[in-house]
Amino acid sequence: MNSIHHHLARALALVALVAAGSIACLGALPAPACAMETVRCTGRPNAEDDKSAIQGATESRITLETSLDAGEGVEQLTLHIPEGTSFSTDDLAVTMLTGDDLMTREEVSYTETVDGQDLVLDFDKPLNDAGHLSVMVYGVYFPQAGGDIQVAASYVANGAEHTLENIPTIPVVGISGTEALSQWLEQQPWVQSWNENRFLRLFFDPTIMVTSFPVVLNGFFMSIAVVALAFPLGIPVALLLAFMRMSKFVLWRGIATTYVNIVRGTPLFLQIYIAFFGLPLAGINVPNFPLGVIVMMLNSGAYMCEIFRAGILAVSKGQTEAARSLGMSGAQAMFYVVLPQMFRMVIPNLTNEFITLYKDTSLLAAVGVMELVMYARTIVASTGSITPYIVAAVFYLVITLPLSKITRHLEERALGHRTRRRTPAAASAAPTSKEA
């Protein structure tokens, strides 16, 4: 209403005061006078999908830190927070950081007044120490659409008003769709009564479900990416190991057997730790993601080796003999006759191994790979609700349930009979392989 008038008046006053201040600086007070300078002005990140993003319409905090010289005598500080951004004076924290390393904190006593978008702090005693003055304003809600938020400030020192220069803008991003949906949900009566129940709120809070979904989805893609690379890459490793284990050369057998026994005999968690913290110490530096893939690949290689070995041994000896009797070399018999049958036989086991591997990607959370569990964890830590874990569980089940079903189907099929029949005649003629 009177804000335009108010602003104009303020602006004029500021111009006048800046002029006055400069004169004062040049004249009466020699050294420090107008040296209150901006150190930083930041907003507290509050987005769940990006830890350093500040988003609109979500609670945040503004921190303004300024440096003061000794004898400055700052009596009053006014923060002007732009229109569209709301704030609260609850939890307001005003602190002086002094000492050489600015590591001494002193609470500053003050009286605060809020005048529209202005927050005025009248200090009980003028600030005369050299150091940093830090003001933290809590309960800040930036505009929903985001944008660069310019906080302005002025101060009164030794009776003269000055403008605080060079305050950086706070980059605020627009609120995401899910965040908006979550905030809308929070207002719904049914959600409120749902969340009144402790169990439902802890495990199935709809507002957190909505916000954690896109975040945990990032982790889902990461987990899938890890397993989608590690699993197929593990197959040749496993085949090689299986051949080595069945080799007639003691050395190959020994190497492969030792490897398989070590990998299968130690927890994957430990292997991950050794790879992530041990290898770099040995001078081998591999970035996080490929290293995660490699560890998972080498681990599943050992398990699949045993699956393959058992599978190869389960293909009847007559198959190799038949192939060899036709003049095929050992390798040809292996690749064209034994392996195709082996793969067919071990598909259920391989599917199980895939499921295990997929679930085990969660262990990479411990070493900073941002996979499913780690994303869920970060939200659990900031909300105190278990709901993101439930969302994560759903993401696991989305993959594991259908695969388990397929495995069951394949196992049944392996036990049962081929359903494919070429002609009705054949169907009646050969109900089982024994009969004509």
Binding site: R40, T42, G43, R44, P45, K51, S52, A53, R61, T63, D91, T95, L97, D101, L102, M103, T104, R105, H132, S134, Y138, N197, R198, F199, L200, L202, F203, F276, F277, G278, L279, P280, L281, N285, N288, A365, A366, V367, G368, M370, M374, R377, T378, V380, A381, S382, T383, G384, S385, I386
Partner: protein, 275 residues
């Protein structure tokens, strides 16, 4: 009636979850007295297991909490034992990753209170109640000694680069601090604070950000090839987290802290552990 059922259901489910996670293992006794029994006698507080107070802690944070030869040592651990003594209870520690402590207190069933160098923040205050603070700490960032790109002189700018990876403990104030003051840097989160230092050693991260007392302790004890390049007087206050459903316990803990503060025990513990 309906409400009673829901509460019952909730506590059963919570128990089931705790049991499934295998975290109820410490002490073994199940939470026989849930929120249901808090309404008897206003001054009396209840704990999960009668006669015992269970603190959730993440023992990767010397000199506040650490495991030495299987013993819980550090300022927080001594404080917990002193508080338990004041309250006439047995003291028990439940090992939970740091980012799981506040959720565990909210969910209940695993521990009575969180005692793990937990700074009071408005976000956490929304979820749990905090006791009177017993220690004030600040933030620090450490890098390898041979890191010439990030020095004490340029740390504020040098750390805020897209190419810089900062290791932080998941759910810690160090994570929040780094996110706010070095928004351009990439944060690498670890559940375990000691792993953050190992990650810097291993080159998985360029810097580690966390509470100064712990950073200094870690550098002094294990990582003398890293040094502090940045400090910030955030003045975080460490306090004990208690479930909002258990104000009686909070009051009792506050009373104990007050006593320990007045009789000088708290100062003794601090100087003994921060030496």
């Amino acid at each position: 009636m309906k409400n009673w059922k829901m509460t019952k259901l909730a506590s059963i489910a919570t128990l089931a979850l705790a049991a499934t996670l295998g975290l109820a293992a410490c002490g073994g006794a199940p939470a026989t007295e849930g929120s249901a029994s808090t309404d008897e006698g206003s001054g009396e507080f209840t704990t999960l297991t009668e006669g015992t107070i269970a603190f959730a802690t993440s023992p990767d944070y010397p000199p506040f909490e650490n495991l030495v030869d299987g013993e819980y040592v550090g300022l927080d651990m001594d404080l917990g034992r002193a508080i338990a003594e004041e309250l006439g209870l047995e003291c028990e520690y439940v090992n939970i990753d740091f980012d799981g402590i506040v959720p565990a207190i909210v969910a209940g069933g695993q521990a009575d209170a969180g005692l793990s160098g937990i700074s009071i923040t408005p976000d956490r205050e929304d979820q749990v109640d905090f006791s009177t603070p017993y220690y004030v700490d600040n933030q620090a960032v450490a890098v390898m000694n041979d890191n010439t790109a990030i020095t004490e002189d340029n740390a504020t700018e040098a750390l805020n680069q897209e190419t810089v990876r900062i290791a932080v403990q998941s759910g810690s104030t160090g994570e929040e601090h780094a996110a706010e003051y070095f928004p351009n840097a990439e944060l690498v989160s670890f559940p375990n604070f000691t792993d953050c230092f190992a990650a810097v050693q291993a080159g998985q991260a360029d810097a580690v950000c966390g509470n100064i007392a712990v950073v200094e302790q870690m550098l002094a004890e294990a990582y003398d090839n890293e040094h502090v390049v940045y400090t910030s007087a955030t003045g975080e206050e460490y306090a004990i987290a208690v479930s909002k459903d258990n104000p009686e316990l909070l009051a009792a803990i506050n009373e104990a802290i007050e006593t320990l503060d007045e009789n000088g025990t708290l100062d003794e513990l601090i100087s003994a552990n921060m030496g």
